[in-house]
């Protein structure tokens, strides 16, 4: 038995996505920049994907820059837009937080950090002297939904450019980047049934973004390096099924609520503001989150503690720590269960069983 409850880390590939990638693998192996038939064939897959992604987010294809994933898209959005004083939140993904730290270290950028106590973000931003705002739309660990529409409107009134990390928002919220009016918005294929290794940065036409990678004028000079037609083919197909994913969200949220209700016996939910329906983050009493993740994995239930990270070392959830600065045990005992449209009621029953079984080991 195996139950996958880590959809915020990566989503299983939709069958159509696998099919498209298999086809692309055979057909689109050439360098898409090459001036010959094979190169054109590869390029056609990429441009098809670009059109699909653009259509899914309400953008023009020319404004979509493909990247190697959400992290690179966030890095490009944060570091590609010139700024002297950046405003951000205390709960950003490391792809944004560490890019800002880099700007502080190497460019002397100043930073203003807005707290999100208990998962509740302030309605307005302190924009005094700020010339770039970098904020996420949906939190990766708790699912907190930040008031990005309102913030972007406020920034537009003040003439301040805004980068939005929408990696966790895509497929969970209706997104129309043109209507939103931000300067740049980052997306990741792996959160919507697409593969790892594919992401995008939408860039408003009036926003200048300097390429971070060096060595080529690909993506209209905004991202050097040949894009991967296979991964992007998968991204495109996943994006074209975004409506189906969004339509499933109410059912996903109902399952999340059922799962969460079963967990409340063992702990408290982290985050009390508005949030999306795909995730619950629970501080499990008396447990260390990393150990609980290991114990559940042995039982066949795949979950996470903090943000997925390749170092192999668990660290207490930075987001929960930032939301509850005075309650260290919340971050240490955080368990993140994230669901997707493919999560079934049987999955939940099995997961709840396994959680009961594991948690009861400490009662005996």
């Amino acid at each position: 038995m195996s139950v996958y409850l880590d959809h915020h880390a990566a989503t299983p590939l939709a069958p159509e996505v696998v099919e498209a990638m298999t086809e692309a693998r055979a057909a689109a192996w050439a360098n898409p920049s090459s001036a010959h038939a094979a190169g054109r064939a590869a390029r056609r897959w990429i441009e098809e994907a670009r059109a699909r992604v653009a259509s899914a987010i309400g953008a023009r294809p020319a404004d979509v820059v493909f990247t190697s994933g959400g992290t690179e898209a966030c890095n490009l959005g944060v570091l590609g837009i010139a700024a002297r004083r950046v405003l951000t939140t205390s709960v950003e993904h490391p792809a944004v937080a560490e890019a800002i730290a880099e700007a502080i270290a190497s460019r002397g950028v100043e930073v203003v950090t807005v707290d999100v106590p208990r998962g509740v973000a302030p309605a307005r931003l302190p924009l005094d002297g700020v010339d770039l705002v970098c904020v996420q739309w949906v939190n990766h660990e708790t699912g907190a939904r930040l008031p990005v529409e309102r913030w972007v409107a406020e920034c537009r009134d003040a003439g301040v450019p805004v980068f939005v990390d929408a990696c966790q928002a895509l497929g969970k919220l209706e997104i129309d980047v043109t209507a939103l009016g931000a300067s740049a918005v980052a997306f990741a294929a792996s959160k919507i049934g697409g593969p790892l290794g594919a992401g995008a940065l939408w860039i408003a036409r009036d926003t200048a973004v300097a390429s971070r990678a060096l060595g080529g004028a690909q993506e209209r000079g905004r991202r050097a390096g040949s894009p991967d037609p296979v991964a992007l083919a998968g991204f495109g197909v996943a994006a074209s099924h975004l409506g189906r994913r969004l339509a499933a969200m109410p059912a996903v949220a109902a399952r999340r609520d059922r799962l969460e209700a079963a967990l409340l016996e063992h702990g408290e939910v982290n985050g009390e503001g508005p949030r999306v329906g795909t995730v619950t983050n629970v501080a499990v009493r008396g447990w260390n989150g990393a150990r609980l993740v290991a114990a559940l994995d042995v039982e066949g239930v795949m979950t996470s503690h903090g943000a997925a990270c390749s170092s192999g070392v668990d660290a207490p959830s930075a987001v929960v720590q930032a939301m509850y600065p005075d309650e260290a045990e919340r971050a240490e005992s955080a368990l993140r269960l994230s669901l997707g449209p493919s999560t079934t009621d049987d999955d939940l029953d099995a997961a709840i069983d396994a959680i009961e079984r594991v948690v009861s080991r400490r009662r005996t």
């Binding site: 260390n288 150990r291 609980l292 290991a294 080991r361």
Partner: protein
């Protein structure tokens, strides 16, 4: 004992634990690999030590090879509180602490057993060179590993019997060479990896430098002989251990001198001749016995440091621990080190040498 029962195998990333895991896997056990993250590697000496990222990757690679799950769990706080801080305090107090004894006793095995319970495992396996046996009355006994060069029973004397009862040491009957051979036979990825020689958290072996970095203090003082005559100067009493000959800063043609005593309050190191180093008696505190606590004096062999051949002695229980009366003078009895009492290959008990 194969199948069914889930076993947690502790993976350091070294050859020994990797081969231990491979042997248990071959025997059909349901294994879960766990690496304890005990200390953050820093500086340029990150390879071949406990807790370096490379070691975690080696542990993960071995588990992937064996097809078993692998988790890295953070026990840095416990390691600092129970091993590193007392280690630093011990050196500052002029003793020579035994961090591996404290780690095995207070962090590793006990903590692993607790993790095992959480993970639904009933036993903990490690790559220690030691043997766990049962006597006629089914009581647990700890014995030396068959490879006397690698034997680690000295570091394990303080592990409670109820913990040992749930431990497995698959390498206890192997020699190091055999372990590598088994590793090669079983395709263990790191079977030819170099052994680590130093303390895992002081990989360059510079204990003095480590203590100065940890505490931010640097002390200096005098090297004196028994009569108090100043023979030289040293840069920190924590750089010395009783019996040490090198690094005293009193070279020349004089006969070799050895550290006899460390006087931390005066920042003095007392040195003398090799004959002065020998002692017939010693005291140990914090005694732990593997059976009932002895009431009467008894004959046994006592080992006073890891690389010491256990010497015949009369052991007399005292309220604080036990007194040791060696039959032949023993050299370099350093306070803080463990005195482990053996009868043949069997560990009877142990304690920490007192000042």
């Amino acid at each position: 004992m194969s199948g069914g029962e889930r076993v947690l195998v502790a993976m350091s990333g070294g050859v020994d634990s990797s081969v231990a895991a491979a042997l248990l896997k071959e025997a059909g056990h349901d294994l879960v690999g766990v690496t304890l993250h005990l200390w953050d590697a820093s500086g340029g000496h990150a390879v071949g030590r406990c807790c370096a990222p490379e070691d975690r990757e080696d542990a993960r690679r071995t588990c992937d090879h064996l097809g078993i799950p692998h988790y890295v769990l953070d026990e840095r706080r416990a390691f600092r509180e129970r091993v590193v801080d007392p280690f630093v305090a011990g050196y500052l107090a002029g003793t020579t602490p035994s961090p591996c004894v404290h780690c095995n006793q207070e962090v590793k095995l006990g903590r692993l057993l607790e993790i095992a319970r959480d993970l639904g495992a009933t036993r903990v396996a490690t790559g220690h060179y030691a043997r766990i046996t049962r006597d006629a009355s089914n009581a647990i006994r700890l014995h030396r590993g068959h490879d006397r060069e690698k034997d680690q029973s000295y570091f394990l004397y303080g592990v409670p019997l109820d913990v040992l009862d749930r431990c497995m040491f698959p390498l206890g009957e192997l020699r190091k060479g055999q372990t590598r051979e088994e590793g090669r036979r079983l395709g263990v990825p790191n079977w030819d990896k170099k052994d680590s020689q130093e303390l895992c958290f002081v990989p360059d072996g510079d204990v003095g430098g480590f203590i100065e970095r940890e505490t931010g203090v640097a002390r200096t003082g005098e090297v004196v002989d028994a009569s108090g005559e100043v023979l030289g100067h040293h840069d920190g009493v924590y750089r010395f251990t009783v019996g040490q000959r090198r690094g005293l800063g009193i070279g020349g043609g004089a006969p070799p001198r050895y550290v006899l005593k460390i006087l931390p309050d005066e920042d003095r190191v007392v040195v003398g001749d090799v004959e002065d180093l020998a002692a017939l008696t010693a005291h140990a505190q914090h005694a732990v016995w593997t059976g009932a606590s002895p009431a009467e004096p008894f004959e046994a062999e006592v080992q006073v440091r890891y690389r010491h051949r256990a010497a015949p002695a009369r052991v007399t229980p005292t309220p604080e621990g036990f007194a040791i009366a060696f039959h032949e003078p023993a050299r370099a009895i350093a306070p803080g080190q463990a005195a482990v009492v053996y009868r043949g290959d069997q560990v009877i008990g142990g304690g920490l040498l007192a000042v």
